[in-house]
C-alpha cells in the first residue's frame, strides 16, 4: 500500500474510533502536544495508560474475590482508572468506570462483578484499536508519508 492510501486508511480509521466513542477530544489534545521534539509522546502516554489499567483491573478483580470486600479501596482504584482513561481520551473505558463506581457506592457486588467484565472488555477493545492506530501511523511514517493533522 502506498503512502497516500495508508494516509487515507489512517484518517478513516481515526474517524471511526471517534465516531464509535472509543476515543474523545482528549486524544486529539494529546496529539496536539506531540511535536518533533517529543515525537513519541502519544505512544508513551498510552503505554503508561495500558500499564496502569492492567494493574488496576487486576486489583479490582482481586478486591472482588475477597471474603470481606473493601469498597473504599475499590473506589480508590476505579477513581485512578477513571482518571487515566479520561486523560488519554479512552471514552468508553471512562464511562464504564463511572458505572462501576455507582455499583461500588451502592455496595452492589453482583453489579460490580458484571461491570468489571464490561470494563475489561472495553479496555481490551480500546487497546486493540490503539495498537492498530499506532501500527498504521508507523507504517505511514515508514513509507515516508506525512501524518494527517490531529
Amino acid at each position: 500500500m502506498d503512502a497516500l492510501q495508508l494516509r487515507r486508511q489512517l484518517i478513516e480509521y481515526t474517524a471511526e474510533l471517534f465516531s464509535e466513542g472509543f476515543l474523545d477530544e482528549q486524544f486529539t489534545q494529546l496529539q496536539q502536544l506531540q511535536d518533533e521534539n517529543n515525537p513519541d509522546f502519544v505512544v508513551e502516554v498510552v503505554s503508561l495508560f495500558f500499564q496502569d489499567s492492567e494493574r488496576l483491573l487486576n486489583e479490582l478483580a482481586k478486591s472482588l474475590s475477597q471474603q470481606e470486600i473493601d469498597f473504599k479501596k475499590m473506589d480508590a482504584h476505579v477513581h485512578q482508572l477513571k482518571g487515566s482513561s479520561s486523560s488519554v481520551g479512552a471514552h468508553r473505558v471512562q464511562r464504564s468506570c463511572i458505572s462501576f463506581r455507582d455499583f461500588c457506592n451502592a455496595k452492589n457486588v453482583e453489579g460490580c462483578l458484571e461491570c468489571l467484565q464490561k470494563m475489561k472488555h472495553e479496555y481490551s477493545l480500546v487497546k486493540d484499536k490503539l495498537e492498530t492506530f499506532f501500527d498504521l501511523e508507523q507504517q505511514l511514517s515508514t513509507t515516508g508519508g506525512s501524518p494527517p493533522p490531529p
Binding site: 482528549q26 489534545q29 494529546l30 496536539q32 502536544l33 511535536d35 517529543n38 509522546f41 508513551e44 502516554v45 503508561l48 495508560f49 496502569d52 480508590a76 477513581h79 485512578q80 477513571k82 482518571g83 487515566s84 479520561s86 486523560s87 488519554v88
Partner: protein, 196 residues
C-alpha cells in the same frame, strides 16, 4: 532539574514561569508535564503534597520553611490535583496559604469532579482557580497569561480592577467564556464545560 534564570535586560523579565505540578496519577503527571513544557513553562512534577512541600522548602514537620528556603528554586505557581492519598490537594493548598513564605504563590486545584462544595472550599482557602480535568492547553495558556499580567500590575485593588476592565475591552483573548471566568472574583474556571 533546571530552574528558570533571570535575565536582566533593560529590566525586562525573561524568566520562564516555573510551575510545580502535583498529581498521584502517573498518566496525569506525564500529560501535565507536557502541557506545561508545551506552554514554555519550566515544569517540576511530583506525586504527593508532602514532596511538593519539601521542594518548596517546608521542613519535615511542616512547621515552616527551613533556613535552606533561600536556596530553593523559585516556584511561580502550583497546580495540584484535589484527590490524592495522604495529603489532599486541599490540604496542600491550605499549608501553602498558611505559610508566610509561600502564601503569595498562586495555587490552582484540578479535579475530575466539579462538586460545588469542593470548589467553594478551595476558593475560600485562597485557590487561584479550580480546573476540571483533563486540563487542556488552553487552560495552561490562560493561567500563564493571567500570571504574567498580574506580575506586570501593581498589587492595588483599584488598579487591578481597572486593568481587568481594560483587558476585557481591549483584548480578544478575554472575549470567550473561559477567559471571563478566570478572574479571582469568579469561583470556577472550567472553560466551556458545564459543572457536573
Amino acid at each position: 532539574m533546571g530552574w528558570g534564570e533571570r535575565y536582566d535586560d533593560a529590566g525586562e523579565e525573561v524568566r520562564e514561569v516555573h510551575v510545580l505540578a502535583v498529581d498521584d496519577n502517573f498518566v496525569d503527571r506525564k500529560v501535565i508535564e507536557r502541557l506545561l513544557r508545551s506552554s514554555a513553562c519550566k515544569a517540576t512534577v511530583v506525586e504527593s503534597g508532602r514532596r511538593a512541600l519539601q521542594l518548596l522548602g517546608m521542613d519535615e514537620e511542616m512547621k515552616g520553611c527551613c533556613d535552606l528556603h533561600g536556596s530553593q528554586p523559585k516556584v511561580d505557581m502550583v497546580i495540584t490535583d484535589y484527590c490524592m492519598p495522604g495529603m489532599t490537594g486541599y490540604e496542600l493548598l491550605k499549608r501553602i496559604k498558611e505559610s508566610s513564605a509561600l502564601r503569595e504563590i498562586p495555587v490552582v486545584v484540578t479535579s475530575s469532579e466539579g462538586i460545588v462544595a469542593r470548589i467553594n472550599r478551595c476558593m475560600d482557602q485562597g485557590a487561584e482557580e479550580f480546573l476540571l480535568k483533563p486540563v487542556k492547553l488552553s487552560d495552561v495558556k490562560r493561567l500563564k497569561d493571567n500570571m504574567k499580567r498580574r506580575e506586570a500590575q501593581p498589587r492595588k485593588e483599584s488598579r487591578a480592577s481597572a486593568a481587568r476592565k481594560r483587558n476585557l475591552e481591549d483584548e480578544d483573548s478575554f472575549a470567550g467564556p473561559s477567559s471571563s471566568s478566570s478572574t479571582t472574583s469568579s469561583p470556577v474556571s472550567h472553560g466551556d464545560r458545564p459543572l457536573i
